[in-house]
């Protein structure tokens, strides 16, 4: 299933806890901000993209998002429902 993963660069402070927890999905760019990887594809990381995730992968990505001290990461499902943050 595909999920919309968004990093807000204005909130991101480069804590990199998301990178530590979910390195397959998050990386840091040259501005020390988190970006979203394309899971094995050749597209460059970007602040937001749709990513195909298994249930286990989603769990890890959400854990990475939850670790962010500034709530810079938003995750939505294909229906547009916000999975994280929950409010």
């Amino acid at each position: 299933m595909k999920y919309h993963i968004i990093v807000d660069p204005d909130l991101c402070i480069g804590a990199a806890s998301c990178v530590t927890i979910a390195p397959e999905t998050f990386t840091l760019n040259t501005e020390n901000k988190a970006e979203v990887l394309d899971h094995g594809q050749t597209n460059a990381p970007t602040y937001e993209r749709w990513v195909e995730l298994t249930p286990d992968e989603l769990k890890t990505v959400i854990e990475g998002a939850e670790s962010c001290p500034t709530l810079a990461i938003t995750i939505l499902d294909e229906t547009g429902k916000k999975l994280y943050p929950e409010f």
């Binding site: 909130l11 402070i13 480069g14 804590a15 530590t20 040259t30 020390n32 001290p69 409010f87």
Partner: protein
Amino acid sequence: MSLVIIGGGIAGTTAADTARQISPDESITIIERSAEPLYSRVLLPHYVKGSIPREKVFLKPPSWYQEKNLELILETEVLKIDAKNQSLLLSDGRELPYDQLIIASGTTPRLLSGDADGVLYLYSLGDADNIIAKLNLAQASGLNTAAVYGGGFIGCEFINIFFHRQLNTSVFLRGTGFFGNSLGPSAQRILADQAISKGLKLFFNQPEPELLTAKGLLTGLRLADGSVYETSLLGVGIGTEVDHPPIADSPEVASIPPQLNLAKLEPVGEDLSLTENIWVAGDLANAFDPIVDRPIRYGNWQNALSQGKAAGLSALSQPLPKRPISQYSTNLLGLPIVFLGDTSRLAGSEIIQKSLTSTGSEEWFIRSGRLVGVALVGDVSSRLEKMKILGTMVT
């Protein structure tokens, strides 16, 4: 079984959440001395600068605690731990028994010896509210100067905040530059150049200034050389202290095991166990870190988060995951600063200036041939690469 956690910050809340995921039925109670549930201290500068509204600093929806069946007791302190009988004395007079106890009460900001209206700290949400109020008042009065005492994390945040408000700011550094406990002179020079290029004035080797006041309001600072700097705003960032140990000063203190004298920061192992049925986690914990091969007290979000998880697992006798490296990232007026691992210049490490340009510095901290820390200023493009080799043998 009942787990009680002292401290409702990120370490304590993560410990509670972790324990709940393992044990759906365990009684889990968080005791927090402030009036607020979990919020992000990292977001406080964003709030002060007006980037986010106040309600966005909170990290969990109000219903989260109830949904997770966690009891959150706010505005309550733990006055005493009775380790022998496994019971806490709370400030509301109750005695609360526990089977497992996690102490995650954090640290408090080190304060100046004096105080005045206009002396600002940036530790709590209340501090952030106060800063906003004082900034608005000062600027409404046409005052446009500010001062910062301290050149570490909080000092840099105050600089960023005052710059955002276009205040003429002078920075009084206790030593020879920013982050004196971690950075060498070259890295400090890059940061000083950045500050000066943005119009700040820097003063080095400054002992604590005398506060000048009128009717309790800050009017200026008298420096060691006798000169006076006029300002109604002073942002202070001079470090933290372990929060008061929750042990009452009473004749019974003598009977409490010495490990519980948290002010001495007795080191704990990777499992964060302080004594039987008591664990520590977060900013106050002086815990062994196998990556840097020594007990160390970190004061960053990443560490508090991972230790909260570890304490929750340990308390319920679960195996611990591999410990992530401790890291912290901040900026001085847009110039990034990253600390990975143990970057203390006081820990006996060999420190190598690995690379240096006019705008970027990389310092390595090596002990017994192992890379235990990396400090990056300006050019942080190699950060991910350094995260991968931290803890490995490099010589």
